[in-house]
């Protein structure tokens, strides 16, 4: 601690041959031991950062938040990400950065009278969005539900029997693109936000992986990359966007983006195209002529966990 100013100088010739060598050397030894322990502890403490830093270039470390990037900076980042994909996977991917269309707010509706629970939507999501293959990740979870309840906790997601079981109903759940998204509220670094067309997005390069958003989401719609996603080169979808299905790093959150790399180009989402029953309806909520608006006006529509005030842009409906 505080050192006495008149303490004898260490390692002086006198002390070496003095009558009390033990006191001097003990002090030195303790200091040395303390310094060594301290250094070791410090090295141990920062080891993960050192490991992590090995994967992160200076450019990546100094990259700004998505919404502060100039078009030139974004072009440079996209070039870097495309080069990384080519180097790591040998795949020439194309990463775009499509912006929200003026006059468009996306809405999705799902017909519970028609869905048979075949899980083709979840599979299509897995392939479209370059999800980690070993964990079978997907933004969609299909619940086999007891009739008479909407309690997700009573739902079963691992069923393997032929479907549809007439005693059950099937409810695919993905990001509800809430107008009042709790996941956005809790993010400590503003790495996730709601875009003008209603899609809640994540900047994978800004996310710190704290998983607060995963805990806050009442629909269990967010996923965490526990490992660096593994996708065989021949299965990588090369049509990518910065905010959606580009190859994600380890330790960041991800979520359904209504396939914005498709939908912002006017296409239907992959999960809708894969649906063999036509249970899914997608479109522009601001267009009164759209199919989604017809559903909202003419069907028995509800939103999941309405009482939480999240105001989803994802709707469920019945035929009868």
């Amino acid at each position: 601690m505080s050192e006495s100013p008149n303490s004898p100088p260490e390692a002086s010739p006198d002390s070496a041959i003095g009558s009390d060598p033990g006191g001097m050397t003990r002090r030195t030894a303790l200091k040395l031991a303390g310094a060594t322990l301290g250094a070791a502890a410090f090295a141990k403490a920062i080891a993960p950062i050192a490991d992590w830093a090995a994967d992160v270039s200076v450019d990546e470390f100094l990259q700004k938040h998505y919404r502060e990037l100039t078009p030139e900076a974004m072009a440079k980042i996209i070039a870097r990400l495309e080069a990384d994909a080519l180097e790591e996977h040998g795949v020439a991917v194309h990463i775009a950065d499509p912006k929200p269309q003026p006059g468009v707010k996306f809405g999705y509706a799902l017909n519970l009278s028609i869905c048979v629970g075949c899980r083709r939507c979840a599979e299509a999501c897995h392939k479209e969005n370059n999800h980690d293959r070993p964990s079978g990740n997907s933004y969609i979870r299909v619940y086999e539900m007891q009739k008479g309840t909407m309690d997700l906790a009573q739902g079963n997601v691992t069923y393997t029997h032929p479907v549809a079981d007439p005693e059950k109903y099937y409810m695919p759940v993905q990001c509800q693109q809430c107008d009042n998204p709790p996941c956005v509220d809790v993010c400590p670094v503003e790495a996730t936000w709601k875009e003008k067309d209603g899609i809640v997005v994540v900047d994978y390069n800004w996310c710190i992986g704290c998983r607060y958003c995963e805990a806050a989401c009442p629909y269990h719609a967010r996923r965490f990359n526990w490992t660096k996603p593994e996708v065989p080169a021949e299965e990588i979808n090369p049509v990518q966007a910065y905010l959606s299905n580009r190859l994600r790093p380890q330790g960041v959150m991800e979520k359904c983006t209504y396939c914005l790399h498709r939908t912002r180009e006017g296409k239907l989402p992959a999960c809708l195209e894969a649906c063999p029953t036509g249970a899914r309806v997608f479109g522009n909520l601001l267009d009164p002529e759209s199919e989604i608006r017809w559903v909202l006006a003419n069907k028995r529509v509800f939103v999941l966990k309405e009482e939480l005030g999240t105001r989803p842009s994802f709707f469920y409906f019945f035929d009868k």
Partner: protein, 226 residues
């Protein structure tokens, strides 16, 4: 039972890509096609004050006029297909028959589960190469949707509104076209209830995966502890 249905789906897809079809909504047959005329699909809409070009919503055609395989083989060894009329013009229709089990030749083993309909509710006894509306007028096979719509009004209403039936392509018709299924792409007309299917893509147990990864990463240390 299943294979022919998938085959017919293939035929349907091949046919719809092969030619220009009368069912091409609002583009090839404007005004003349009563099948699909919902304003949301065909009318050009004004959004944000600008009139926009709308791409087509192409509804897949129903099947081509079917043929029946006979026991005779052609030079290549394949069964010879004949038109329905080949046999049916030579014999009188038997209105009393309701099930394929009652037939002495052809069409046996046809799984039939479509309410109380009989064969001649939909098949046209005066021209077997066409289908028959309830009022006795004929409908060509590719326009089978008109036949189904007679009884299944709510489904047809939803279909016209874009809320029934699978589709691919564009939600934004200002940017590209859309392809839509017709009734018999998903519903077997002889047994229209959607069949049970084996679910795909069973979720992976993350705990089991992590355990396997750990075991793979430390095989030596695990054995050293024993």
């Amino acid at each position: 039972m299943k294979a022919p249905r998938y085959l017919s789906a293939f035929v349907v897809v091949a046919l719809c890509t092969a030619g220009a079809w009368a069912l091409r909504a609002g583009v090839t047959a404007p005004g003349s096609d009563p099948v699909v005329a919902p304003s949301s699909l065909t009318a050009s809409s004004e959004l944000a004050g600008a009139t926009r070009l709308r791409h087509a919503v192409n509804i897949r055609s129903g099947p081509a006029t079917p043929k029946v395989l006979t026991n005779s083989l052609n030079h290549g060894g394949a069964p010879v297909p004949v038109a329905c009329a080949t046999c049916h013009t030579t014999r009188a229709p038997n209105l009393a028959l309701h099930a394929s089990e009652d037939l002495k030749e052809f069409h046996q083993g046809l799984a039939y589960q479509h309410g109380a309909q009989s064969c001649l509710s939909c098949h046209n006894a005066t021209n077997y190469d066409t289908l028959r509306r309830a009022d006795g007028t004929s409908v060509d096979y590719p326009r089978v949707i008109e036949l189904c719509a007679q009884c299944h009004g709510p489904q047809y209403r939803d279909f016209k509104a874009g809320a029934h039936g699978g589709m691919t392509g564009h939600w934004d018709l200002a940017r590209g076209p859309r392809e839509r299924n017709t009734c018999v792409d998903c519903h077997d007309p002889h047994a229209p209830a959607f069949p049970k299917v084996r679910p795909v893509f069973v979720p992976v147990d993350r705990g089991a995966v992590q355990q396997a990864q750990r075991a793979a990463a430390h095989p030596v240390s695990d054995s050293a502890h024993e």
